[in-house]
């Protein structure tokens, strides 16, 4: 799966889509691939404050739990309820139906990469 050009990417494998003053956040194809089939998403609550580079939710596969790190500081204004019943949406459509949260009132942003920069970054990881 190609990483969509209109998104930005973090080192922790989250993608960010800017929508006016808000952002929508999810995890990348690379991330869902390494996590394997997801069985549960600990969806955070609307109103939760998040801090850039800190964990704001976690996802479970059969044998592992992984933290998802926020690429920005702000407040969660929407969560993808679909994930509660269909966590596999993240595996099947990580950039579309697999979105996780919408964040507003952004005060800080982590360093983000373009699609090409992210692709190069992932290639260096695969070589390790």
């Amino acid at each position: 799966m190609k990483n969509p050009e209109n998104l930005k990417y973090s080192k922790d494998h989250e993608w960010v889509r800017e929508e006016g003053k808000k952002v929508v956040v999810g995890i990348t194809d690379y991330a869902q691939e390494s996590l394997g089939g997801l069985v549960y998403v600990n969806v955070p609550e609307v109103g939760d404050e998040v801090v850039a580079t800190e964990s704001f939710c976690d996802v479970e596969s059969v044998k592992a739990v992984s933290d998802i790190y926020s690429p920005v500081s702000g407040k969660i204004v929407a969560v993808n309820e679909l994930l509660l019943d269909s966590p596999e949406s993240i595996n099947e459509d990580p950039y579309g139906n697999g979105w996780i949260v919408e964040i507003d009132e952004i005060t800080d942003t982590d360093e983000l990469m373009t699609a090409q920069e992210y692709e190069d970054y992932c290639n260096t990881l695969s070589k390790e």
Binding site: G37, V39, Y40, E60, S61, V62, E88
Partner: protein
């Protein structure tokens, strides 16, 4: 070979039952209407014939130690002697109510004291408590004791517990249950603690360290005296996770290594049965200065009578009564069977068996432990996984097909594609040779024919279960 075993509920026949009680010999009353249950519980309705057939079929599809080689690393699946079960079921133990007057349970007190003495001696501790019901429970009790100790000293800032990244998951989970903070210590490339790294994570909020020795890779922390000294000098305490005691029992003692508090898994080192997941026993031991914090009442002798004595400084209690008494008795029988000479010999045989099997398997497999190991060692299938998609899981499933239990998979986390092998002392050389030959044959077969890897197991009553669906859409009880 594939089979489905019916559930008790599926065999149920309305109105079928065996009568175990006689007619009531006093006036029969009714439960008051406002408390009475409206819908009877839908338990299965069966006769004793059905029950015995059912459990016989289930038993046939469970793999026990008496079925074959059981090399689960860090679980110490040694032979469970039959005499232990026999003594534990003597009516003078099994039919004793926990709230009987003390003068009527002197035999139990004496047995527990005997176990206390022997285990204190083996571990180098001053006193034991048998209240914790399992290893993780023992960890919890120990850390609670540390917490209370620091509270008493007015050092409530001390909440940081250092844990190596090779540690079992219960260790950090226990820290969390005590309202404390985990400081993860990265192991060096040998899988051991780096003393300089250790010093760098210590500050004034140090409560202590949780260590397994030998560690979860089967390697003895040779710097252990220095490590415990560093912790003590910084005002912290040292906890010993006794899961791997089988490597050193009767030869080295955690108490001499500088540990202040330990837990034991009586169902590991001391042969009490695992029961398919319990009951075990997480007996703990500590040095004299921590004695008053031990959970539950302690047994003490006053004049000629044993009695329970409760300390006000105790952390409290972790179970309703005194722990898994009948399990402690089994462990005592085991210790009595081996005795002074036998316990160290047991450990030596465990370590010999592990090293011999490691030697044989290194003919094919990548072994993490390069030099002499202790009672367990780790095979890594990282190379095979990368080159042939032949993973540790595949190897494990192939082993099941040979009528043996597979080693522990994917633990410790710091070794990729790990299979941890612990033969224990209750295996003969001929079995180890047999096992090595089997493992090597599997390896050679799969390397020659990589698509075999995903086909195992073929000889078991089910093939690999779909764990993803089981977790996404959990079905945790029978629904009609």
């Amino acid at each position: 070979m594939r089979k489905t075993l019916p559930l008790l509920f599926e065999k149920s026949v309305e109105n079928r039952r065996t009568h175990y009680l006689s007619k009531c010999d006093v006036e029969e009353l009714e439960i008051p209407k406002n408390f009475k249950r409206k819908v009877a519980p839908k338990l299965p309705e069966l006769s004793e014939t059905d029950i015995t057939r059912h459990y016989t079929a289930l038993e046939a599809n469970t793999f026990g130690i008496n079925d074959g080689f059981y090399p689960l690393g860090s679980c110490t699946m040694k032979y469970n002697p039959k005499i232990n079960d026999k003594i534990a079921s003597l009516p003078g133990f099994a039919e004793i109510h926990p709230l009987q007057p003390e003068n009527t349970v002197q035999g139990i007190f004496e047995a527990l004291e005997e176990a206390n003495k022997s285990l204190s001696e083996i571990t180098g501790m001053d006193i034991m408590s048998f209240q914790p019901a399992a290893g993780a429970h023992g960890e919890l009790a120990s850390l609670m004791m540390f917490k209370k100790y620091f509270e008493d000293r007015g050092e409530t800032n001390r909440i940081k517990i250092i844990i190596p990244d090779s540690a079992h998951g219960t260790n950090p989970a226990t820290v969390h249950m005590c309202g404390m903070k985990v400081i993860n210590l990265k192991s060096n490339e040998k899988g051991c603690i780096d003393v300089e790294e250790l010093k760098s994570v210590i500050d004034k909020d140090l409560a202590g360290i949780m260590l397994t020795n030998p560690n979860t890779l089967g390697i003895f922390e040779e710097d252990i005296l220095e490590i415990t000294k560093i912790i003590h000098d910084a005002g912290g305490l040292c906890y010993y996770d006794g899961a791997n005691l089988n490597a050193i029992a009767g030869i080295l003692r955690p108490g001499d290594m500088g540990f202040d508090c330990i837990h034991l898994n009586l169902h590991k080192t001391f042969s009490t049965p695992h029961g398919g997941g319990g009951p075990g026993s997480g007996a703990i031991g500590c040095k004299e200065f921590l004695r008053k914090y031990l959970p539950g009442p302690q047994i003490e002798k006053e004049k000629d009578l044993y009695k329970f004595n409760s300390y006000t400084e105790s952390i409290g209690q972790l179970v309703a009564f005194y722990g898994n008494t009948l399990i402690t008795l089994r462990a005592l029988a085991f210790i009595m069977s081996y005795g002074k000479e036998g316990i160290p010999k047991m450990s030596k045989h465990a370590v010999l068996n592990a090293n011999y099997l490691k030697q044989r398997l290194s003919e094919r497999f990548d072994i993490f432990n390069k030099n002499l190991c202790m009672h367990e060692f780790i095979i890594t299938m990282e190379k095979e996984a990368k080159n042939n998609n032949f993973t540790a899981k595949d190897m494990a499933k192939a082993i099941l097909d040979e009528g043996m239990m597979a080693p522990t998979m994917y633990f410790p986390l710091i070794v990729k594609e790990a299979l941890m092998v612990e033969p224990t002392e209750t295996e003969g050389k001929e079995t180890l040779d047999f096992v090595a030959d089997k493992y090597i044959k599997i390896y050679d077969d799969v390397v020659a024919n990589p698509e075999l890897a995903k086909q195992f197991p073929k000889n078991t009553i089910i093939s690999r279960p779909d764990e993803v669906t089981a977790a996404r859409s959990p079905i945790v009880k029978y629904m009609r």
